[in-house]
Point group: C2
Chain length 98, copies 2
């Protein structure tokens, strides 16, 4: 592999790993929502905050290590936040649980 | 740069970034300790837990991205934990504040 091949491989791997983590957080939050009688539970808020913080630390590291661009990183965080907000809305409308 | 040069550069960069973050956490916790009347403050515990969690997410990402070895990552977390425990002890013995 040439040096640029190595970078492309690492960049793609970093994106994939971050996307996997974002998906995991979405699933975790969805399970939490499904199992909570109310969203106003402090535990839920704490889990959400902690997960978002952990994810933002990962993204920030990937940016600083030169694996992803700053705009890609910001976009990933925004997308996750938007998806979680949509889940939250869906719960309010009773569309989440089977 | 050859492809192995690129990897060595990235590995070194990842280690440096993680070490900087570990140092920042140590400084933050030391400042917190210096400014708290007691270590048994829930806020302090929360800051410590959150910072350790964020750091462990970064280290885990660096391992999965192939930037550092698993043993190096574990060692960095253990070293930070040990340093924070030493700070905590020092505070108990009144050796921290000027």
């Amino acid at each position: 592999m040439s040096s640029s091949d190595v970078m492309v491989h690492l960049n793609q791997k970093a994106l994939l790993l971050l996307q996997e983590d974002a998906d995991k957080i979405e699933k975790l939050i969805k399970v939490q929502m499904d199992n909570l009688t109310t969203r106003k539970c402090p535990l839920y808020e704490e889990v959400l905050d902690t997960q978002m913080y952990g994810f933002s630390r990962e993204v920030d590291f990937a940016i600083r290590a030169g694996l992803i661009s700053e705009s890609t990183g910001k976009q990933m965080i925004q997308t996750l936040e938007r998806n979680l907000a949509l889940l939250y809305e869906a719960l309010g409308e009773g569309r989440l649980s089977p």
